[in-house]
């Protein structure tokens, strides 16, 4: 039996009267690849924000490796291994690919910044640069290191965001609609990356469209209007009448 790595227990989040996430209990097991689907506005991103500490739940608790983290700040959760990507790709457009990468390494390389010269420590430390280039190379984008991020295609930005997330050494990786806005080729590319990562650490993917997840995840849940309605293997979930009712009509039109 696999251990639970991340657990949400009865979490609720309200925004001025609107309940975006309602009494959701959900767990992610170590090493599994799980998915949550739900129509737009279902509360998927809000749920992610609760898991990652960008929002604090109004009710309920969150546990990570058995420890309560309900109010732990987001940066600390990242340092403990809860790493996420954002629904709208989040890379720093004014910087180069390499510089984006460096920002993610700063935290780990404590010796890159000796206390003595902390304030004026240069970001272009040769070891740091090497490490970042290597990391970029794992996805074959090292040749783009000096390009301004704003000049990348959306798909390339998504790849960069994932490389960055990986360099943060996740124990659980949360992907918020990683396929949104990508072309079919790019979707295939990202899917393969996810498949390669599967099993190395826990992965939780949130998606709007069911079709992209079916082959990627071992377990699928449906979130609708802030409530978990159904859970099981992808095959079972697709056939669930309740899911079809609340979801199917909106599916595959986009």
């Amino acid at each position: 039996m696999a251990d639970t790595i991340l657990l949400a227990k009865g979490v609720t989040k309200r925004f001025d009267g609107l309940t975006a996430v309602h009494n959701v209990t959900y767990e992610v097991k170590a090493g599994e690849t799980a998915g949550i689907i739900g129509p737009n506005g279902a509360g998927k991103s809000t749920f992610f924000n609760l898991l990652t500490g960008f929002f604090i739940p109004d009710e309920g608790q969150i546990f990570y490796l058995g420890e309560e983290i309900t109010r732990t700040p987001s940066y600390e959760r990242v340092n403990r291994g809860i790493v996420r990507t954002f629904q709208l790709v989040s890379v720093f457009d004014t910087m180069t690919v390499l510089e984006n990468m460096m920002l993610s390494r700063i935290r780990q390389g404590r010796d890159y910044r000796s206390k003595r010269r902390f304030f004026f420590k240069s970001v272009y430390h040769p070891d740091l640069v090497d490490e970042c280039l290597q990391a970029l190379d794992t996805l074959g984008i090292a040749d783009k290191a000096d390009i301004k991020t704003s000049d990348l295609s959306y798909g390339e930005k998504r790849e960069l965001e994932i490389v960055i997330a990986l360099s943060l050494n996740p124990k659980v990786l949360l992907l918020d609609e990683p396929f949104a806005g990508l072309s079919p080729i790019e979707i295939g590319h990202i899917s393969r990356v996810v498949q390669q990562l599967s099993g190395k650490f826990a992965i939780l993917i949130v998606e709007h469209k069911i079709s992209k997840l079916v082959e990627l995840v071992e377990r699928l849940c449906v979130l609708n209007e802030g409530t978990l309605v159904c859970s099981g293997t992808p095959g079972k979930v697709i056939c669930d009448p309740q899911v079809r009712e609340c979801y199917w009509g909106k599916e595959e039109t986009a």
Partner: protein, 277 residues
């Protein structure tokens, strides 16, 4: 005319030095920081105190004034600004405005309400073509350029600089990298405040000290920040020098309109600039 431009650049330089902190606080933290004006006044009154009362020279006095401002900005950051992260902007305005008001009263209590003059610390003018240029103003322009270059290197080359630039773009994404942004913002807040104190020091020999000097400069600097774009460092520099020139040129034509013209320019920029979402 050349002299007017020269005066405009001096004022622009000082506006730049003071506005950076304001712009960064707004761009990076989303906080409108009125207490910035207090730190500026603290810089000016400290240089007055150490020069007039203790007979210390201007350069050493300037260093002391900037150092004196640091504990104040540290306290303001720790007990006011840090509590305002994520709160609505109205809270920030009210809270930092309160700090400014308290400071103004403290200044009145210590130094009285009447204006105090500081004389030109250099007192030499340089003959250039047909005009006389006070050396002090030249020094200010030089110093501003040094700060401008220093800051752009800082933001381009250092780790802290990179983190701040990233934070200006997307705060959440920086936190998503496991970086404790608040800590870096605190550092940059104190740096920006120290520059405001330096601005107060530099401006005091050109104008006079009075308890409300913080309010006065703040409104001009808000105009700079709005025209330059909040959190936009290059924009802040360009806006500061442009508005300095606007003030000097308008002032030469009709004195009383000098500052009003700044707000006309600001309103114009707001009107033509596309709305960012």
């Amino acid at each position: 005319m050349l002299q007017t431009i020269f005066y405009g650049l001096t004022i622009g330089g000082i506006l730049y030095i003071i506005s950076i902190g304001l712009s960064l606080t707004f761009g990076a933290m989303g906080i409108v920081n009125f207490s910035h004006g207090l730190i500026y006044a603290i810089g000016a009154y400290t240089i007055y105190a150490v020069m007039a009362k203790m007979g210390i020279n201007f350069i050493l006095g300037a260093v002391i004034a900037v150092l004196v401002s640091i504990p104040f900005s540290y306290i303001i950051e720790k007990y006011v600004i840090r509590r305002l992260y994520g709160e609505s902007i109205d809270y920030a305005i009210i809270a930092t405005y309160a700090v400014l008001l308290i400071g103004v009263d403290a200044i009145k209590w210590i130094w009285g309400a009447s204006p105090l003059p500081i004389s030109d610390p250099v007192g030499i003018s340089i003959q250039f073509l047909t005009m006389e240029m006070p050396l002090y103003r030249l020094i200010i322009i030089g110093l501003t350029l040094l700060i401008l270059i220093g800051l752009s290197l800082f933001f381009k080359k250092t780790i802290i600089g990179k983190i701040i630039i990233a934070g200006l773009g997307d705060r959440e994404a920086v936190r998503g990298l496991g970086i404790r942004l608040d800590k870096y913002f605190a550092i940059i807040f104190i740096l920006g405040s120290a520059l405001a104190a330096l601005g107060g020091v530099l401006y005091s020999p050109i104008s006079t000290l009075h308890p409300y000097m913080g309010f006065h400069i703040l409104i001009l600097c808000f105009a700079v920040v709005i025209v330059g774009g909040m959190g936009n460092l290059r924009g802040t520099a360009i806006a500061a020098f442009s508005l300095g020139l606007v003030m000097a040129i308008t002032g030469r034509i009709w004195g009383p309109a000098a500052e009003a013209m700044v707000y006309v320019v600001m309103a114009f920029v707001l009107m033509i600039r596309p709305i960012e979402t």
